[in-house]
Point group: C2
Chain length 379, copies 2
């Protein structure tokens, strides 16, 4: 078992990563102390797989648990879903000493976290992420949110979980594309934050693609640790440090939106976004920008090679092959989308760009021309 402590003053908690850990949730909840009752939120896909095991573990420890099941998919991150859950909480008498358990992927985690953050002005919530993406990303950092019809994650709160339990064995049941999507975020950590982790990934392609629980335990722990170090220093994204976690995301979000919500999985967008960031940094390097002097052709190829071997796209042509029908990923459309992203302040285009292997920086002065040229060269 690996334990990653997340240091956030009185909001600190542990992430426990171990095979067969689902059945230990009851112990973890009781150890929180003073728990009146538990409500588990899960989705229609995860419920038949793991809900019973988790419920039994909770009941065995003498706690009452209700289960709320939401439809699978991004549509559940809506105000309507939140409203229904608040009403249900009231009905089953959830109080300030109750705990919300989120059993599922990012959608379930984000929705449950938001509902827990706002019910009775905030009650505890515990996460059991069941997708690789949620295990390496959304279970660390306390970001919770729902979507507005035209704006992803626009309504939310920072609300840290009181604990996180990760079982790499649940990834066995994950659909292939969702697993790859998680790897998109995994690669991001190596490329942008940790050279030794990048090498670890390069050296374990086969076991990663086979979903070996041993390598997954190692990978998840490393990703959580990397994210935890940044989040503890910039919990609410105020100093700019936390934005370094968004390597690949400015392009990624635009690609996701251009493809239609939920059609391009998040990690695919991040992987392709990372590849585009590398090309953009290379272009700036070739223009003589000193900040990117370590970025050359071979660096870009090496990152593309890793992304490619993990089954993820590195060019807009790859993206076109992935999607069944035509989508508009013209440079103009993508730039428009990036300009309306909530991370844009005072109308400037911001990117997290690589400055070397396992290093990156927030760059606030990227010109639209360089972005368009980079996109035009990546078909």
């Amino acid at each position: 078992m690996k334990v990653i402590p997340i240091e956030l003053d009185d909001r600190s908690y542990d992430i426990e990563i171990a095979q067969n850990s689902l059945s230990r949730i009851g112990v973890s909840l009781v150890s929180l102390g003073d728990v009146s009752r538990v409500v588990m939120i899960t989705d229609e896909n995860v419920e038949p797989l793991y809900s019973e095991e988790v419920s039994e573990s909770i009941v065995e420890r003498g706690l009452d648990v209700d289960v709320a099941v939401v439809p699978a998919g991004e549509e559940s991150k809506s105000i309507e879903s939140a409203y229904a859950l608040w009403e249900q909480f009231l009905e089953i008498k959830i109080d300030r000493r109750s705990v919300v358990v989120a059993l599922g992927g990012g959608v379930v985690g984000d929705l449950s976290g938001f509902v827990a953050a706002t019910y009775a002005r905030g009650i505890r919530f515990f996460q059991i992420p069941t997708t690789l993406l949620a295990q390496v990303d959304s279970s660390v950092g306390g970001k919770t949110a729902i979507n507005l019809p035209n704006a992803k994650n626009m309504v939310g709160a920072f609300h840290q979980p009181c604990g996180v339990l990760v079982d790499p064995l649940v990834l066995k049941s994950l659909p292939e594309d969702q697993y790859r999507s998680g790897l998109g975020e995994v690669v991001k950590y190596g490329c942008s934050l940790d050279e030794s982790f990048f090498r670890l990934l390069e050296n374990n392609i086969q076991t990663i693609n086979e979903r070996s629980p041993e390598i997954l335990t190692e990978i998840i722990a490393r990703c959580c640790q990397l994210k935890a170090e940044i989040v503890s220093q910039d919990e609410r994204e105020t100093t700019g440090l936390r934005s370094l976690l968004n390597y690949g995301h400015t392009f990624g979000h635009a690609l996701e939106t251009a493809s239609g919500y939920g059609r391009l999985l998040h990690g695919y967008g991040v992987a392709l976004g990372s590849a585009l960031c590398a090309r953009l940094a290379l272009r700036l390097s070739q223009q003589g920008d000193e900040r990117f002097k370590e970025i050359d052709e071979s660096w870009v190829m090496r990152q593309n090679d890793l992304i490619d071997k993990l089954g993820l796209p590195t060019s807009l042509s790859d993206l076109a092959n992935l999607m069944d029908d035509k989508i508009d990923v013209s440079p103009k459309r993508l730039v428009d989308l990036m300009e309306s992203d909530k991370k844009t302040e005072y109308g400037k285009l911001n990117f997290v760009l690589p400055t070397g292997l396992g290093k990156c920086a927030l760059v606030r002065d990227v010109s639209v021309e360089d972005v368009v040229a980079t996109l035009n060269n990546s078909f």
Copy 2:
């Protein structure tokens, strides 16, 4: 001008109380630094009175401001109102560097605070409370909320304002019953927390009833200071200390609900609730409970006398006279309501009861019999 600093680490802010201060909002907002734009939320009653003066002050300092007007009354503390505001924020491009200004009473403050707490995971908000109740209560402490159809304040967040500006002159335009309602909370502070403040109120009945700005400045400052001392020590209501602010509120909330949402003003419920708490404490004292040994008949009469001189109810008969039509305030109904209140933990009846003049304590073991007997004796 009086300035009350609210000490809450990196969430600290000042409450400025001064006559004619509305026109200084522009200066206060600019001094926050890094403000992209401002959105003011107000209601249909307040908008024609003060919106223009506030807007002009903001525009004079070079900031853009949009105004959102919600219907006056408790119905605006709904998820539908919050949703409409989130959508409007998106449309007018409110970003993380924008500031929400709440110009109005408790409803506007609670709703605006909740919307600000959750838009883009939390943006700044500034309060200009225009009712006495909001000036002495909801503008301190960071509690924000909306209602569910059957549960007041059930969805919300702790979100501290970045500043509060109080102009006692705006109270000149407040309807009589709303002014009295504010005095209900004012009396609460004196009775439960500060003997010298209680005496100050006793000695200034006439100027208080005349709404003299000088005495109001003093009163508002004292109330904010008393609340601030408690909130700084127990921001999120976890230690029990903050519950001392709820003197009169257990009865008060039940009375409000029994009368129908919004028909009995909050401060009237608190005033009558305070009178009932005094009678309950007297009963326990007469049973030999040592905790209430300082509470005797004369103490109860003295509190009733002050409440009465401020035009507020001290008995269920007074309440019946206030309401146009019949309401069910039978002891059974009130006890049922108190048992379903969210402050009830593990099904026990909790009250904040007086232990002397300007002193109170959270009492967790009050029997239903004593509550019923107290209610029966107060018709």
